[in-house]
Symmetry: C2
Subunit: 237 residues, 2 copies
């Protein structure tokens, strides 16, 4: 399956810059003068590619990570550009006990939250989310990517309650944006495809923040390779 | 201080409907056909009032609570209507040990997150947020509202880690939207004013969900009275 106009949403410049450089994307005006998101554009064959990086928070001067800027970026991007695919690529934590390794890249076949616990009938499932995702089994095999459940939360660490929820069999990948992006993509009826590269093993014994910073570069390079290969496959020749 | 165009953002219809009815607000077209938010308009003196209720999630058929829809609603509202004040009113949990009672209404003089733990230098403060808020000491006194710190998180319950963070002296009010709204208001340079009415005492011994449902109506009525009184004071005669 191919797409005419793909918006690639990424949270951090350290994740996005290798992809921007490899594809020689051109910087555009900001989507909105008051939003921190940075925009770039290019072409892959006949397909238009727009890269949106969530950008640097104007007050804190750090990358705008988490589901709030991800929600904002996705809505602004769909409104402005009307893509036929939202591609979300980023780094993540993952469970060694469930097969994860540093710089392994997963394709999300399920996107849920682990920090929206709402024990009121009806709201419980809303809190989990379980947003629609675009998957292609044959393409995942060709690109040597495994499917995995992506679970989003707004903390880099895992408290005991997070761990109990995440340790459930199906949750392999832990990161901070996918569910925000997939939520808006569903509302706006644009397919969502998420791929995540492992920077830290959440059950590996190291502090998430230390392991994250240690492996960010390698993990971002592995992500870059898979994103470029994937874009080749889903763009129009 | 008075405002020309106020956008009132509320998460749940059960909180918003008494206010909508009391002010005889008129239903408008949706802000965006794909978004669940419901829009209403009216006048208070010479001030234009626009009420945005986060609306019913199309898949789960429950009110769109939490910071993601709050983020989305605030951006869409500011973009469409360009208000000079974002007023956010809603129900909340609060600490009995810090003076809270059911149906007491607080005015937020600080808005922070309690579920964005990011232990990387620079990101830590970003995770807490501490967004700018509009306050008026004399007006709060006149309306018999106390100032309090509002802390937002995407879970209705409190896990042990949440409790440890929330139990810190300054955090009185616990709710699920303020920080999402105040985040966007800051980016878009619109003043944020938040008032919250207590539905459950987080250290009162009852389950949050049971107490929330038990006191939602009373708490919403108390909220309505304060919102109407506040709007009278900040609108143009």
């Amino acid at each position: 399956m191919t797409f005419k106009k793909i918006v690639l949403i990424m949270a951090m410049h350290s994740e996005a810059d290798p992809i921007r450089d490899a594809l020689e994307l051109e910087e555009m005006d900001k989507l909105h003068p008051s939003l921190p998101m940075d925009s770039y554009k290019g072409k892959i064959g006949q397909t238009e590619l727009l890269l949106l990086v969530n950008g640097v928070d104007p007050r804190f001067q750090v990358d705008s990570i988490g589901t709030q800027p991800a929600t904002l970026a996705t809505f602004a991007a769909i409104q402005a550009w009307q893509p036929d695919l939202i591609l979300n690529a980023g780094t993540c934590g993952a469970f060694k006990s469930k097969g994860a390794e540093i710089a392994k890249v997963y394709w999300g076949n399920k996107v849920i939250h682990h920090d929206r616990r709402i024990s009121i009938p009806g709201f419980r499932e809303y809190g989990v989310g379980d947003y629609p995702v675009f998957t292609d089994q044959a393409l995942a095999q060709k690109l040597e990517m495994e499917f995995a459940t992506i679970s989003s939360g707004n903390s880099l660490d895992m408290c005991d309650t997070d761990y109990q929820i995440l340790d459930q069999e199906e949750r392999v990948v832990k990161e901070m944006e996918a569910a925000g992006i997939a939520y808006v993509a569903e509302l706006m009826q644009v397919p969502y495809l998420g791929i995540k590269s492992v920077t830290d093993l959440v059950d590996g014994g190291m502090l998430a923040q230390d392991e994250f910073l240690l492996h960010l570069k390698n993990s971002s390079l592995a992500l870059q390779q898979k994103v470029l290969a994937l874009l080749q496959e889903i763009s129009i020749k």
